[in-house]
């Protein structure tokens, strides 16, 4: 039997074993989560009933929920701004060409990576428990989240800058701080601003759901309606949120096209 593939029979056997292992793995996953195709199917009627409870949407509350959207945007703006400000020292500390101390540079870089690993919703939930319900928790959560992303992205740009100007400045006697301000900042500022806007856009989206854990904005309104079983109001909120996100998307695409 001529073989069609270059692999030895050993590797082929391993591959077959691998496939079996994968199948068993999936069975384990399914069992542990109680997943089955039948169960998926059985949940459909409840789902449909839920949709039924949610139609028709209660449009009369539209002007009541409008302020919540405004709040959502405000949370995003504030959170991103705080995050960006907090990011500044961290950028300097986690850029290899500014922070020459190998250990501290690695420390801060790893710290930023760790902070980034935690989903923003978790930050929001923790902060809600810490400072109470409301937009303040949302702002703080977004601040932490934004800080870590902006810091990571900007520090990568900082590490990629042209070393020329920094050398030139060092050669004529500038100290570290002056070097940063006059050589690094001008090169990195445009990128920093674009990262800021990028994160802002993400945060507006995120901010719409943060409220579901109590951190203000439209999400909190949604949670209230759901908790009170006011499904028709909830569906209005959901549809409005959907439209809102699409609008923001469109707006940012247009703006980006114009700025580039």
């Amino acid at each position: 039997m001529i073989s069609l593939s270059p692999q030895s029979s050993m590797r082929k056997a391993l591959k077959t074993v691998g496939v079996f292992a994968l199948a068993i793995f999936y069975l384990v996953c399914a069992k542990q989560t109680g997943f089955s195709f039948r169960l998926m199917w059985e949940g459909m009627p409840s789902f449909v009933k839920l949709l039924g409870d949610m139609t028709p949407p209660n449009w009369s509350i539209l002007n009541r929920i409008f302020p919540a959207f405004v709040e959502t945007i405000q949370i995003a703006i504030l959170g991103t701004t705080f995050g960006a400000v907090l990011a500044l020292p961290l950028i300097a500390l986690s850029s290899g060409n500014i922070n020459r101390n190998k250990f501290s540079y690695l420390f801060f870089k790893t710290l930023m990576n760790l902070v980034r690993t935690i989903p923003e919703l978790l930050y929001a939930a923790v902060l809600v428990a810490a400072v109470g319900f409301g937009p303040f928790a949302g702002v703080l959560a977004l601040a932490v989240f934004s800080m870590s992303i902006i810091a990571k992205l900007t520090s990568e740009s900082v590490e990629a800058i042209d070393p020329g100007p920094t050398e030139a400045l060092a050669a004529c006697g500038a100290n570290k701080a002056e070097n940063i301000v006059y050589a690094v900042v001008p090169q990195v500022l445009p990128v920093f601003v674009s990262y800021f806007l990028y994160v802002l856009e993400i945060n507006i989206r995120v901010s719409t759901v943060l409220g579901l854990v109590g951190a203000g904005g439209i999400g909190q309104l949604l949670k209230t309606y759901l908790d009170l079983f006011r499904y028709q109001n909830a569906s209005t909120v959901i549809i409005a949120t959907f439209v809102f996100v699409v609008l923001i998307d469109q707006l940012s695409t247009r703006l980006r096209a114009r700025l580039i």
Partner: protein
Amino acid sequence: MALVIEFKNVSVTYPGGVQALKNFSAKIEDGEFVVVVGLSGAGKSTMLRCLNNLVVPTTGEVLIDGESITHAKGRALRELRKKVGMIFQNFNLVNRSTVLRNVLQGRLGYLPTWRTLTGLFPEEDIQIALNCLDRVDILDKAYVRADRISGGQQQRVGIARALAQQPRVILADEPVASLDPPTSHMVMRDLVRINQEDNITTLVNLHFIDLAQEYGQRIIGLREGELVYDGPASEVTEKTFEEIYGRAIRPDDLRGASA
């Protein structure tokens, strides 16, 4: 000698108004080695692709062994396409697959769908594929990924793939344009050898006139979609090419290097 290919007043107009082929007629007999020359855009590619209906003529038809491939559809079209093997300028191999798997693609037309979809190729067909690789002297690369071999080797795999179809006709669309001069000659020699050993009618598009003169048996010249020359290669001179091109011959019309 039997008539294998017949172009009957074939015209091709692309959407957008460009007329790539104007009333082209030609008869090609069994076992001929024809080189088609002309400037870029003269209609060489279009003409070749009318032969396997990758391009559908706007008017006229192309007959293969007396059957119209232009009007064939579905199964009949696929049966006719089996008879025509094609080699491409960019090789058109599946990069991530091995050389052998690429060549086996030539056998797809001969196997039932259940086999092709499961990938269970019969031993006999695998052997045919290996033999084709051997014929172009690249059997040792059978199990290597297609993107890990050189351009010249990739083209030879392309030839092997066409050979695996056990075709009546082999079409080669600028087969050496992406290769360096010595490799170009090697590939042309391979094409000639196969034409002579297997008596497979071969049509090759070239824009290198020295290669055309050296390897062609019969030369067909196209200019702006029209047939402007059709005759034996032995009677062709540089002046003929100038007439075909409609301009003086330039250095980059020549491949260079020698056999």
